[in-house]
Amino acid sequence: MKWLKIILFLLPLLLAFSDLEAQQRFPKPEFHTKYTQPTPTTPEPRGVGMEFVDVLVLLVVLSLTSWFAIKKRSRNGILLLTVFSAIYFGFYRNGCICSVGSVQNVALAFADPKYVISLYALLFFLLPLIFSLFFGRVFCGAACPLGAIQDLLIYKPITIPAWLRKTLGFIPYLYLGLAVLYAATGTEFIICRYDPFIGIYRMNGPHLMIYLGIAFLLMGLFIARPYCRFFCPFGAILNVFSRFSRRHLSVFPTKCIQCKLCTTACPFEAIDFPDEEKTKPDTKSNTRRFILYMALIPVLMLAGSWIGSKSHVFLSKAHPDVYLAELLISHPELKTDSKNIDIQTFLASGKSLETLVAEAQVIRDKFYTGSWILGAFLGLVIGLMAMNQIIFRRREDYQANKGNCYSCGRCLDYCPVE
C-alpha cells in the first residue's frame, strides 16, 4: 500500500474526484498543455444484416443450381455458380459459417439449453437439407465452398473399386456421429477444427490446417472430391435426404437410349448402370439374407450401444475439464510444474479438486448418454449399409445415384438425347 502515501499527499486533489475514479492506482493526470486524449480503437464487426445477405445468396445459389441441374440442364451454369461460391463463400466470406459446420451449432443448441443459436446459422443448416429433399444434393453441386474448390481442381480422376468406395463411405457417418457428440457435450467443434480448406480460403491460418488443405487438393487431382466423398459429415446427412428427393438431376432428358456414353462422365462414379441379367440374385437366398439382416441390425445396434457406453471414458478425455481433472489425479506432481499454465491457473482460481472432479463427472455422464447413442447409430449404419448391398432394385437405365450424385451436371453434356 505504498502508493497510498502518495495519495495521502495528493488527498485534497483526490477528493475533488468522484469516488469511482479513486479506484485507479495511478490517477489520470490533469494536463496543463493542450493534450487530447485518444480513444481506444474498436473496429466494428460485420453487421447482422450482412449475415442475412449471405442467407439470401445461399438461397439464390441453391435455387439457380436446382434450375440449372433439373430444368436447364446446363453444366456451364453450374460451373459458373461453383466459381461464384468459391469466390463469395470462400474467398470473400472466408468460409464461416458454412452449412457443414452448422451441424454442430444445431447439435449444441439442441443439447445445451443455454446455447443460443443465431437464426442465420440455423438457416444455413436447414436450407441445403430442404433443397436436398426436393432437388437432390444441389448444395454440394455448386453452393458448398469446400466442394467448389475441390470440384475446380479435378485433373485426372481414377476409378476407385466399388467395394472400397462403399467401405470408405462409412467414414462420414462416423465423423458426423463424433462431431455431434463432441458438439452436444460442449467439448469442441471438430468439423471446424479440422476443416481443410478454410485456411486456403483465408490465405492465413495454422500451417497444419493449410498442409491438410493442400494435401486434400493434391489428392483431389486424381481422386475426385476426396473430402466430400469420404469425410464430409454434412454430406452424410445430405446423402440420406437426397435419396428421398422429389425431383433429381437426370442423366438423360427424356429416355435413356443405352448408348453408354455417360459411363465415363462422372468422376465420382455416381452413375448406376443397368442390371445385367447374370447379376440378378437368387431370390430365395436373397430373402433369407434379408431376414437375417433384419435380425442382425438390432443385434448390431445393441452391441454398438454397449461398446459405445464402454467407450465414453476415453471419448470424454477430449473435454478440457475432464482432461485437466484426470491429469491432476493421475499426475499430482504436475501441481508444482510452473510451466503448465492450465494447472497453475486452476490452482490459482481457488477451485477445489472436488469441484473440478464433480464438474468433470457431470460432463462424463453426458458423454455416457451420448456415447451409447453414437454406438447404436453406428451399429445401425453398418447394418443398413451392409444390407443395402443385398437389396436389389431393378434398373434399366443409366441413371444418377440419388444418394451419391452431387448434381454437378458433368454427365448432362455427355448424353446425346435431345
Binding site: L153, T167, T264, I307, L378, I390
Partner: protein, 626 residues
Amino acid sequence: MQDTQDNIKLFGNLITVSGIFCLAVALLLLINYWHIRQTKPLETEALKSLVQQFQADPESEALKKDIRSLDLLARKAFFTSQWQIKAGALLLLFGAIAFATCLRIYHTMKARILEPLIDGVDSKVTRMLSQRWILITGGLLLGSALVVSFLTTDYLKIYEETGTVVQAPAEPAVKVAVVDKDEKTGRQKTEDGGQEDGKTVVGDAGALVIPAKAGTSPLSSAGVLVTPAKAGAPSLNTDFRNNHPSFRGPWGQGISYHTGIPVDWDGPTEKNIKWKVALTKKGNNSPVIWSDKLFIAGADNESEVVYCFNRLDGKLLWEQDAKDIPGSPAVPPKVTADTGLSAPSVTTDGQQVYAIFATGDILALDMEGKRIWAKSLGVPDNHYGHSSSLICWKDKVIIQFDTNKGGRLLALNSLTGEISWDTPRKAKISWSSPIMAEIDGKLQIITTSSPTVAGYDFDSGAQLWAIDCLSGEVGPSAAFADGLVYAANEYARLAAIKPGPTPVIVWESDEYLPEAASLAVSNGLLFIATSYGMFACYDSKTGKKQWEKEYGQGFYGSPMIAEGKVYVMDRSGAMHIFKVDRTLTSLGDPILGEKSVVTPAFADGAIYLKGEKSLFGIETIRQQKK
C-alpha cells in the same frame, strides 16, 4: 482440327507448368514456416542473455549497441518472414487459379467422348465384396473401440472411490484426537483453577464432541450451546467471551469482555512490561488468545509458521510450519511489504487453531501444534497480499476470499477442512475481515467489500441481505451493535445499515473515513480511526459527531473496546486510551517503543501487543500478584 490439337497440347503443358509452379511455391512456404518455427526470431536466447548482461552492467555502451542491432535483426527477420508468407500465399493462389483455368479449358477442348465402359463390373461379386468389407470395417471399428475402452483408466472413478487424497485417511484419527484434546484442555484448565474456565464445553462440532466434564462444569446461561440445532437463537458463549479467539476479539466485534486491563505501561523503560519476545518472522497479523496460549503467525519467502506462546511468561511453546501442502505455490506470490505474506490473523476455537497465508494455504493445528489438516485454496489474486483474517465458530472456519477474480465467502469444516459451503459474491477484491453477529435470531456473517456490505447465514452460507454502499479498496471490517451494522471505507462513506430483506441506510457520513482500521461500537458510540491520524467518536444511533482528536501518526490497527474504555494504537506504537463517553476523556497514551500496525489482544488483567520487532505481554502489578 490441328489447331485444337495444338491448343490441347498447349494447355496440357500450361497445366504442368502451373502445377509445378504451385508445388514449388508451396514447398518454399513450407521451408519458410519450418525455419521460423525453428528459430523463433522474437525469442532468441542471445538477446535475452545480452539484456541480462546489460542489467548487470548498465553503463556499457557496447552492450547497448549490440542489443539494439540484434533486436533490429530479430524484428527484421520476423517481419520479413511474415511478408514472405503473405507473398507466397498470393503467388500460390494465382498459380492455383491459373492451374484451375487451364484445367477447365483443357477438359472442355479435349474430345469429350472417351471410350465408354462397355462391360459393366460384375455387380453381384462387387456387392458381396462391399458387404463383406463394410461388415469387417464396422466390426474392426467397434472392436478396437472396445479394446481401447478396456485399456483406458477412469481416473475420475478412482478419485471418487478412494476419496480425497490428503484428508480421507486422517479423518477418523482427527475425530478421536479432538475428543481427547477436549478432555485434556478441560482438565488442565480446572487444575489451573482459572475462574470460570473449567467449563470447556464448547458447543461446536455438534454431536461429534462429547463434553467430557459436563457434570462438573456449571454452565452459565450463555454457555448452553451444546445442542445448537435445537437452541434456536445462537449467541456468543462464555468460552468465547472469556478468550480472545480471533482478530478483534470474540466474533470479531471489536469488544473484549475482560477486566482489569492495564492502562499504563512504557516500552522503552519496560514499565509493566511483563515479558517481551523478539519476533523471527514478519507478519502483520494480530495476536489471538485461548486460555494461557497466545497465537501469532509469521511468514517469509522460506516458510509460513504458526507460533504458540505461553501468555503468562512469553515462552514459545511450539511453532509449526505450513509445509507440504498440495497445491501450494512453489514461490510465494508478490505482495507489498506493508501487507506481507502473513497479514491475516489466526483464529482458534479452543480445540484447534487455524491460520491462512497470502499463498492461499490454510491449515488447522491442534493446541499442541500437531497438524490436523491443511489445504491450498489457490493463490489469491491480490496485488497487495491476502489480508482477510479467519473467524471460526462451532464446526466452521469462515474465509472471506475476495480476490481480483471476484468475491467468495467460504466455510470449511473445522475437523476435516472440507468445504461446507462456498458462496460466490458480487464483490470486488477486499482486505477486510468477516465478523459474526446474531441478527433477528439468526447467526450471520457480515462482510464489507466493494461495493457490497452483506450478511450471510452461518449454517448455509446463503446471502440474507446485501446493500451496495462502499467503493474502492475496502480494508475496514464492519461493526455491529444494537441491530445496526456499521461499514466504512476511505473515499467512500461511513454508513449505519439496518439489515433486513431490504436493508436501509439509517445514517451516513463522509467526514472521517478509515482506510485500514475497523470500526468499534459500544454503549451507543461509534469509534473511527483514520490512516491520517484522526480519531473520532460518533453517536451510533444518529451519526452525530461527539468528539475528535488528531494525532501526528495514522492508525492501521483497529480500536478495541474493553471495560468501558477504547484502546487504539497508532502506527508509531503509541496506545491511546479513552473513556467510552460522549465527551473526550483521555485515560493515557502509553507507548510501546516500536512501530505497530496490529490490534491488541486482551486477557483478564493483561493486554498483548505486537510491534514491528517484538511481542509484548503487559500486566499491571496488581494483576501479576493474583
